[in-house]
Amino acid sequence: MSDIDDESGEKPADPVPPGTVADTFREVLPDVAFAAAPGALDVILMIAREDVPRVLRAAKEDPRLDFKYMRCLSGVDHGEQGLEVVYQLYSYTHKHSVAIKARIPQEDPRIASVTPIWRGADWHEREAAEMFGIKFEGHPNPVPLLLPEDMTDHHPLRKDVPLVPVEEWQGVRLGPEAVNVGHIPAGYERLAGPAEGGGEEGKE
Amino acid sequence: MSQLGDFFDNVWVDAFWRLLVVLVLMVVVVLVLTYVERKVIGRIQMRLGPMRTGPYGILQPIADMIKVLLKEDLRPATADRVAFELAPFLAFVPAFLVLVAIPFTEGWGVRVLSLGLLYFIAVSGLPVLGYIVAGWGSDNKYALLGAMRSAAQLISYEVPFVLAVLALSMLAGSLNLVDIVERQGRVPFIVWQPLGFFIFLTCVISDLTRRPFDTAAAESELVGGPWIEFSGIRWSILYALTEYTSMFALTLLGSLIFLGGWDWPLGRDLGWWWQLILIFTKTASLILFIMWATATFPRVRVDQLMAFCWKLLLPLALVQIFLNGLILVYGWPDWTLLLTSGLALAVAGYVIYATLRVRGPVRTIALRSGA
């Protein structure tokens, strides 16, 4: 659990002191529900995933916000509470920074892509897509980046994919146990163990 | 006209043994140069170079030769057999043939040709054929592209080379290499033709495809150039033999026609041993200069290479010929040669400097503490 509650907008008062960028956001987009919280270095704003394209476009283009620099886009897996996409933004002109988060459910992990807004979001989204299984709609080239191009059904950074010790190395079994990780890439079926029907995948 | 003494009565036997001497000399020189290059470049790069094979690594060239001879001779199955096997020789044989026309001392050379300089220039342009045939015969598109680039570079740089040498022969009034050396007398031609010397040296470095002009070999599509498919002794014929033989031959020519050869400072007085020392010292200093340039400069890009040749060197060479012609026709004294040629060289240097001049370092923004 993070210290941002999911019941965004239902809190009576923000713990964020006035005069921060959260107020500017509310001013620019009065009809969007923001749940603000102070983070260790930035203000954290929680929004609904449908608002993501509007909010982020306004963040870049509105002169009061002017977040021309998107520093980082991460995916986080919160288990039953869903996946989360975190955008870290910074403005060189106003010298303020913000972290915008949007939760998406595990069963339907789609969210709008911000690559049309910042070209620098391209590879971050590809990486989040392959590591978490998030589908970024509108991304120009949704091909796995760090993982092999054909590994589209296995998402290593999810919490339900455990980190297992390597027991297979180039087809030679090293340990007595083989843990089924649920995915065998095409062509590696011969590594599958006899009883469980699963096999090792080696290091992710 | 000087005569070279005959050591044997039979002309053929005499020629044969002279050729043999030159051949042995060439092989020795190539071995020495491979070693010297590695040591010199190593020292410039603050490392020692070969040290293990023999004391101070002097047996390194022998080790290299043995390794190269024992390598597997690979030939692509689809390569044109005749072209593939002929190419290294097409490149190497002319490089050796030029040594036939060079007078090593006043009285010794393989042959004195009255058109020695012309022979030299003509034959030294032949290795281009070897490059093209190598590229074509390899059945590899990258080799072909590399060959085209090498050919373009070599042919382009022949033109200012020939013109600079021609300008010099206008001064000497002869194409006979012995005459040119003797005409220099007390003052070597480099003093009268600094511009010509600059053009000559640049074209020599380019003809050897050494840095800064080694674009063809090093970066043709980021692969090795026209000789990619060659290995073992074939490759070594090209790389070691041709390159070092050409280097030796071209720097010999440079020291003969520009630096006074075996004659200056006191060649004719002191005898053949002094002449040999002189000529080899001058050749060695030119070779060391070329190696120094190789170790220090970055590579020039292909289009910059061509632009440099056609837009700078060629007009300069024509200017040199024109100046020489003017001075000879009007019979002006020799020092006008130095003046005009030196001035043209200074102008050329300034042009190069000015087009690439850096306007200074980047601006810095000072930040004080506590700000």
């Binding site: 993070s2 986080v76 070209r119 980046l145 760090l146 | 674009t215 980021l222 400069f297 970055p298 370092p361």
Partner: protein, 374 residues
């Protein structure tokens, strides 16, 4: 009547594959250039050859153990990466760092910036074809600093010297003298290399106006560090969002004009000099004292929270996004690596130039594949 016939010249674009084994020393990186004649019309970079799952592995280690992945990720500027990570943990856990440790960290981080830029100059000159002369000079200078790092941390490459709260042990008694000597020697070393390269006509001709990127595009792509400063944006995170004790030092930020390869080279060389300045000032100000706080918990359990800590690494902005759910291990550790973001702009910079320039532009981005792929 003259009938003009238009004949279409059929040209085929060639795909040139550069990598994954590179002639230049950048690591396993592959780019597929589509070349029409001599000019590049498209670049597709392929990364991931060095992906080792540092983020996933860090989730399974506790906070002290996860530090080692920072070294292995950014293996040319290790102290800078470690610094970012330990500061992220300190911000979450609320740990105060003693003064002496802060100064030691800054000195080592700046010296590491210098070694990283030496490595850049060596590799970059080799890309250009200088065939190793600059490389050996740069590595000789770098070796002096490496010896200091080895004496401080015990390791030549994977230091693991910083800890959340400070540094693991104090430096030796001759540290100050050695660093003073290093500052003098580094100035000489930088001058040696600059004398050989900066005004060399061939170098300038190869690097001027190659791979230029405008300031707005640079910000849009998320570039940072020397690449951003070379494009004219005067931003340095050590001043923009000061962290650690950087606001106590005077130093300049070099800013370029055109964002081409030459400006990036000049910016990095000047940064080395500024780092020497910082180190000298830090040496003057460094107090005695402990290097770890007395009350450091044996098991670090930062409270619930998250932080995005960013520092100015030699290659740009290095960020650690750390989410803690109160356990001993990080819940999510995302590494925002500078080269990963800088590489995104590769296509923009390379298209329209020659093939030979593509190698130079890649060299000027100064990538570390460990950081790109993690």
């Amino acid at each position: 009547m003259v009938v003009e016939e238009e004949r279409d010249l059929e040209t085929i674009d060639i795909h040139v594959n550069v990598g994954p084994q590179h002639p230049a020393t950048h690591g396993v990186f592959r780019m597929v250039l589509t070349v029409s004649g001599e000019k590049v019309v498209d670049v597709v970079p392929h990364i991931g050859y060095m992906h080792r799952g540092a983020e996933k592995l860090s989730e399974n280690m506790d906070y002290r153990q996860a530090l080692i992945y920072q070294d292995r990720t950014e293996y040319l500027a290790q102290f800078n990466a470690e610094m970012c990570y330990v500061m992220a943990v300190e911000k979450l856990a609320g740990i105060e760092v003693p003064e002496r440790a802060e100064y030691i960290r800054v000195i080592l981080a700046e010296l590491n910036r210098i070694t990283s830029h030496y490595m850049f100059v060596g590799a970059f000159a080799t890309d250009l074809g200088v065939y190793g002369t600059i490389f050996t000079y740069a590595f000789r200078e770098r070796e002096y600093i490496q010896e200091l790092f080895e004496s401080v941390s015990g390791d030549r490459m994977m230091y693991g010297y910083f800890r959340p709260g400070g540094v693991v042990w104090d430096v030796s008694a001759d540290f100050k003298e050695r660093v003073r000597w290093l500052c003098k020697q580094t100035r000489v070393g930088i001058n040696d290399i600059e004398r050989l390269l900066t005004r060399n006509e061939i170098f300038v001709a190869r690097c001027r106006d190659i791979g230029a990127i405008a300031a707005e595009d640079a910000i849009d792509y998320g570039l940072s560090g020397p690449m951003l400063r070379a494009s004219g944006v005067p931003v340095d995170l050590r001043r923009e969002e000061p962290y650690s004790i950087y606001d106590r030092f005077d130093f300049d930020i070099p800013v370029g004009e055109r964002g081409d390869v030459y400006d990036r080279y000049l910016v990095r060389m000047e940064e080395m000099r500024q780092s020497v300045r910082i180190v000298e000032q830090a040496l003057e100000q460094m107090p005695e004292g402990p290097v770890l706080p007395e009350k450091l918990p044996r098991r670090l359990r930062p409270p619930l929270g998250e932080v995005y800590m960013r520092t100015e690494n030699p290659r740009g902005e290095y960020g650690i996004y750390l989410v803690s759910k109160g356990g001993e291990k990080p819940y999510r550790l995302k590494i925002r690596s500078s080269c990963f973001c800088n590489l995104m702009a590769l296509k923009e910079m390379v298209v329209g130039h020659y093939v030979a320039d593509a190698v130079i532009i890649l060299g000027s981005v100064d990538i570390v594949l460990g950081e790109v792929d993690r």
